[in-house]
């Protein structure tokens, strides 16, 4: 058997892998121990072109694209029913700033929500959607998930809300 003689590259890779394991491992463990399910922080740019008070709709425009996700309570992670989630994006039917590009839906008993909307298309460099929780019961959260491919026909985002 040949003795193990690490090259410089192997050493660097091992070191990087070890460092990555330590950081990700630590990141996963700490918040769980500290406060149960941690609240979702707002994403950068999440509130861009937000128009408060989007109406609850069956579907935004002609549909064809699905926005979905879940809403849970911070701490115990219990699903939240009847929570209003507002959704908007640049789609084949309008810009983010157009009121008709905005709509809202309510979560079901299992905390899940699902709203059909027109196909999202790339704008400002990447195809992305916007979601907001902005009602009194919990702290406001704005999300801005990015599609992995502009050809995707669905996108999802999950909320963990902290009581206000």
């Amino acid at each position: 058997m040949t003795p193990y003689r690490p090259t410089r590259r192997a050493l660097v890779l091992t070191g990087a892998a070890a460092a990555a394991a330590v950081t990700t491992g630590g990141g996963l463990v700490t918040p769980a121990r500290a406060a149960g399910v941690a609240p979702t922080p707002s994403m950068r740019g999440g509130a861009n072109n937000y128009l408060p008070g989007a109406p609850i709709v069956e579907r935004i425009g002609g549909g064809g694209f699905w926005m979905s996700g879940t809403v849970r309570r911070a701490g115990d992670g219990a699903p939240l029913e009847g929570v209003r989630i507002q959704i908007w994006a640049h789609t084949t039917e309008g810009h983010e700033r157009d009121p008709h590009s905005h709509g809202a839906t309510l979560t079901r008993a299992d905390g899940a929500f699902r709203l059909e909307m027109p196909q999202i298309i790339p704008a400002f460099g990447q195809a992305h959607g916007h979601l907001a929780y902005d009602d009194p019961a919990f702290e406001t959260v704005f999300l801005r998930p990015v599609m992995s491919s502009p050809n995707d026909t669905s996108l999802s985002a999950d909320f963990v809300l902290k009581p206000a």
């Binding site: 950068r44 740019g45 861009n48 072109n49 640049h90 810009h95 700033r97 460099g125």
Partner: protein, 202 residues
Amino acid sequence: MPLRPFLIWLALVVAIVGPLAIAASSPLLAWRQPVYIIGGFAGVCGLAMLLLQPLLASGRLPGLTLPVSRRIHRFLGALLVAVVIVHVAGLWVTSPPDVIDALTFASPTPFSAWGVIAMWTIFLTGLIAALRRRLRLSPRQWQWIHMALAVVIVVSTIVHALLIDGTMGTLSKAMLCALVAGSALWVMIDMKRRRSGKRRSR
């Protein structure tokens, strides 16, 4: 026109018109307002101009004397400043909060930070070029400053462009970016070689 110069100019025209034509036929344009289309196109034009700028600065393009070549270079430089302003203004009108995020480096999208770096470096280059005499910069000093700024402009513009999912075709965009980087690198090496050649012959 002899064959070689003809082929060089033809290659340049194809390298620039090709990506522009592909961007002009993008399906995304159907879902964009005219201001957004103009803003996006100004960006594509700015990228294409970066291919010409180093070549014009070198004076190596066939059929152009160095003074003529440099005069076009200065004109295109001023035009580039204008094109960047149109680019940012078009995006601003389309979505002000996204542009404010970009300008304050608070955007969730890394490409916009690179674009803002390129923008300020282009503005700074234009400013120094305009004040070059008043600042009493020697040609040698100016050349060094300009080259350093040009490296930042080329690198940040290419990263900015490659990270964007926009109207440009993926392949034609990558090819144009490779040509922009290649021409800048070639001209810098060429200038260095010429300078050291001059020194040796002295």
